[in-house]
Every structure is written in structure tokens, then in C-alpha cells.
């Protein structure tokens, strides 16, 4: 049986830009994309910890190491610059859940990875 399982999560990242005029969805620093096992065009849930808004969109690549996390287009109506967000991606899998949780610092630079058995929310 296939289950929808958490695959990737970037914890408590900061929105660096929110621009209604931009094309696309959510721009994420390519380094974080790789470390979180995300891929370009992949569906993600963006959860705004600041205002409680939740939305689904997809990923486009931002400059590696730049720390960029930018909400583009209509999503900028809901999620604002400097809001704190969690970003999640799920996958359909016949295996067991083995997600990566990525922690970042205030500049959205990778600090460490946490596996599920150590993760306590």
C-alpha cells in the first residue's frame, strides 16, 4: 500500500522577499533544496508560523548559498516578508517514513539535519 509520507521539511525559515509581480511560486536557496531532498517544481506546503496561513505551491531554484526564500505572485498576498515559515514536502511511498528535517539560522543558512527518531517537533 502506498502512503503519503513526510519526506522533507525546512524548519523555521524566514521569508526574505514576497513579491506579487514575480512569476512562480516559492524560490528557495538551491543549497536548502538539495539538503532537504527537494527538487525543482516539486509541490510544497508552506506554513506561515507568523499569521497561520497555509498554502500549497511548487519550488523554483534560488541562488545557492544566498539564503533566499521568496514568495512569488499570488502567494505574496498571504505570506509576508520576514514571516517565519515551515516548508514541507510529502511523497507517496511503499516504504517507511524517513524524512529529513533541516534547521537553518536567521539568514536561512543550513545549520543541521535532524532525522525522525531524534525529532520532537
Amino acid at each position: 500500500m502506498k502512503r503519503l509520507l513526510l519526506k522533507s521539511m525546512i524548519l523555521k525559515a524566514r521569508i526574505t522577499q514576497a513579491d506579487l509581480r514575480y512569476v512562480g511560486s516559492i524560490t528557495i536557496d538551491e543549497d536548502l533544496i538539495d539538503r532537504a531532498n527537494l527538487s525543482e517544481h516539486e509541490n510544497v506546503h508552506v506554513i506561515d508560523r507568523t499569521n497561520g496561513k497555509r498554502l500549497e505551491t511548487y519550488v523554483i531554484k534560488g541562488d545557492r548559498g544566498s539564503g533566499v526564500i521568496c514568495m512569488n505572485g499570488a502567494a505574496a498576498h498571504l505570506i509576508n516578508k520576514d514571516d517565519e515559515v515551515d516548508i514541507m514536502a510529502f511523497s507517496w511511498s511503499t516504504g517507511e517514513a524517513d524524512p529529513v528535517f533541516i534547521e537553518v539560522d536567521g539568514d536561512n543558512h543550513y545549520t543541521k539535519v535532524v532525522r525522525m527518531d531524534e525529532f520532537r517537533g
Binding site: G24, H41, L55, C70, A74, S91, S93
Partner: protein, 573 residues
Amino acid sequence: MVLPLSPSLVRNVIHPVYRGLRGDKLLTTLSELEKNQWLSPEEIEDIQWGRMKGFLKEISTHVPYYRELFNELGLKAEDIQKPTDFLELPLLDKHLIRQEAKRLITEDPMRRGYRSSTGGSTGEPLYFSVDLSAGPVRRANTARSYRMAGIDIGDKQAFVWGFPFDIPLKERMASAIKNYFNNITYLSSFNMSENAMLDYANKLKRYKPDLVIGYPSAVTLFAEFIKSKNISGIKPKSVISSGEKIYPQQRELLEEVFGCRVFDRYGSNEFANVAHECDQHKGLHLFTDLLYFEILRENGRPAAPGEVGEIVITDFLNLYMPFVRYRTGDMAIPTDRVCECGRGLPLIERIEGRTFDNILTPDGRSIGGYFWTYLSRVVPGIKQFQVEQKQRSNITFRIVRGPDWNDGNEARLISEIRENMGEAVNIKIDKVDEIPLSPAGKFRFIVSKVEERMVVKSKVHKANVTAADPSRVDCIIVDEDILELSNIIPGEHVLIVDNTNGARIETFVIKGEKGSGELISCGAVAQHIHDGDEIIIMAFTWSEETHGQFSNILIDENNKFVRYLTEKAGDKI
């Protein structure tokens, strides 16, 4: 070692006398079953459906679970007259059996059952009960299936089998006596060390079995040993492969070493013998005079000849704790060929192994656990291994090297895998000091987590809503031209995001007039997406690949195609 009895003594004296004393009519049943198999396919189907009707009548009367099920479905046993009617009944799986164990047992006080269980090779064992009256019929059916392989009652049989160590001494003694009088000897497949195999070989040289029967992985290992040590004098009439999928290279080796033909059989603890190969060696005959057999696609519809599907069984013999449409978790390939042997029992092409813990090939086949264990034995120096797959086209084979390893073995490993999985697969051999445990702390030698990610596949950028009509039902109507260009089809799920007000809505698409530029938000969608709003329409797919096709189009204020878009961070339009 105790020497075997003469086969004719067992066949003509011990067996008939013992059966006569038990009064279970096994021999009468056997001759009836033997007769059945030569009937025409239509006549056998008549027998099967005759049994089916009686079976359904009884379980819908006496078994609480089925009585309520039939009630809920508004069905009577008589409503089920043909295969398509039967599809109406839900499937049964191990989980449901554990949950409904009590209600699956008949209330008919005349029926008696005995406890049984599966081996738990798939994780947790399943405990269930079997109708006492099924025993002799199943044994007769086993005798019929052995005769397909040229083995008669009383012929000497050597089982290379998982020998249960945990049964009480008394039971072990009882089965040793029974085995002796049935001319059966056991070689434990749990111990396949060189010393043990040397013992087995010496034992069989004296025992001179007519039949060697066992797990193909274990029997192959034994055959390799016999070959490498030039041991002669073990020449059975037949080899029967059971319990696992047999691979062509295993079959070849067994036929070479034992100098006889190999017959595949399929059975399980739940149903005993289900299917057996005959001397044509072109598929397995199904015992459809005793059970109802289906091979189903994942969507529950019957698989077509040549397609792989899951084996689903209904056993007419077990009226004590009946299983209707039981999902075995085993895969097989159906065929509509008729066997040249003349038996009317239908055929299946072959058994493909278990549903889970399979590695998938790029061309859509699945390769079960047995191939990988086989591989780890034929390539020297592999102490421990694990094969992991995240995408169909990629596997990682992790090995802990033993003293016999040399780096030349790596090429052998890759070529064996390629031969089975096809050229399109990327193979990574990872030499590690230890194999990591799964997050749940278990060791698994196959880690199949072919995962599908949700990725965007279609996007219509900057469309303008031409009308909002709350009187229609919930959907969005989009000009057919736009749908074609963005690779969205009518009925498809879409995410609409409103650039004007930030609303985000999921609904489905209805085709609008081609070239009209119309874009109408309908029903409750119209409450959020208004006439004149600028919106973006997105559609997603599930993909094993991280890079797929993305049809991303820009349209103008009249909803006419402008160009395809390639998005980069910070693009503005």
C-alpha cells in the same frame, strides 16, 4: 539412519489401510479429482460454479461476517452467478482477518475446525482456522499434484524445507513416525553450511529419493554444492520447486545436477496446493475444481493475459472460517492458453513472487527477494547485503565484504543484476562496514521505497477571468486551446491562485469553447475568483522522476497564447 520403506509397500498396503482406518475417503476423493482434471474447461467451470453457489449460500447463512456483508450490499447468494457478479464482493486481507477473526467463524455447530497459521515470512504470522473436512481433500489434491510430476503415493520424498524447531518433542516424534510411514525425509533449509550439506548429500545417496522438493533458493544451493564436490548418486525422478519464485537459471542448474525435470508449484498454508506445473512445463495448472482463483490489477479489475497481478483466492473447502477473495500478496501472470497435456484445469503463466519487498525494473517488472538472496550466494565474498531502490531506474546494492571478496566480483554482480533488471538500470555498489537499520530498528535486505513526488506539470500564467457564474456547479471552464497548450484535460484537478486577491482554490476543469478565450469561474469558486481577476492555473502530477515535462504557458489579456515560459527566480512579467 533408518532406511526407507519400499514405495509399493507404502502405496499398496500402509497407505490404503491407514486411510481405511481413518475412514476419510481420501482415495475416493483422489480418483474423483484425477477424473476432474481431464474434463473440458467448460465442464470444470461448471463444477467450480456449482461449488461456488453452495459455498456462498452456506456462508451467507451461517457466517456472521458474510451474513452481514451480504445484507449491507443488498445481495443474496443467488445473485452471484458469474465472474463479473463475484467482483461485487469486497476483497479480504490479513488485516481484516485479524480484525474480524471471531465473526469469520461459522455458527453451524456441525462444522469443526483446526488452528493453523502462516509462517510469518512477511512480518507478522496470521492465525486462522481450517475446516476439519478440508484436510483429506487437500491431501488428495496434493497427491494429484505430485502425480503431475510423476510422483505417486509411497514414492520417497526428500524435503529441503524450513524445519520448525519450536514444536514440542511429542509432536516432533509424531510427525517423524508419520513421515517414516509416508516415505518422507527432511533436510533443514535453515542449516545450509558446507558440513550440513555434506551430511544431506550422504543421507540422500543412501535414501535414493524419487522426489526432491523444496525452496528453489535452498535446493539450488544444495545443487551447487553437489556439483562443486562432484558428488554422484543423487538422481531423483523429479524436483518440485515450492515456496518461492524459481528463476530460469536455478531451474537449469537443478535439471543439470539432478538429471531430471523441475516442476513448479504454488501453494500456501492458508490453502495448501493451489497450482502445479505438468509435464509440458508451460505454466501451472490451477485447481479450480476446489477453489476460485483471480489475478487482479491494483485497481481490483482482472489482469489481462500477460499482465502481472495479485493472486486472490476463494477456498470452497474451508466452510469453518471461510476466506472470500483473499489477497495473498503473491503476484502471478495469467494466460488464456490451453495446455497441450489435455488437462482442462486452467493455466497461469508463472508465479512472480511477493507484492512487497520487490525491486521494480524500469520496464515495469518486479524482482522478488529470492533473486537477491540467490545473487548474494553465487557471487563470492558477500557477508551481508542490502538492496535499496528509490527510483525505478536506480538501485544501490550495499555489501559487507567477507574474506572471499575480490574487486573482480563487482563486475560479476553488476552483470547479473543487469541481466535481470535490464540495461536501463543504474547500479551503485556500496561497500560498507555495516548495513544501517531501518528507522524502526529492523534489518531489511530489500528496501523498496520507490517514491513519487508531487510536481507541477502544467501552468497557465496570467489568465483573465471573463465571467463568474455562481449559478453553475463548482468548476472552472477554460478555453480548449489553453487546455491543450498547457497539457490539462477536462476533469483534471487544478489549483487556481488569484493574483488580484490572493485566494487559492482547488477544483476541476471543464472544457470551454475552443479559441473563445473564455474563462469562467463557476459555482462556489465564483465567491473567491471574481470576474476580471487575474489568475494562475496549475496542475500537478505524481512522478518518480525529479525532472518531468512542465508545460508552462503565458497568455495575454484576451487569454490568447503568447509563449512558453521558463521560470527563473525573480522573473517578472
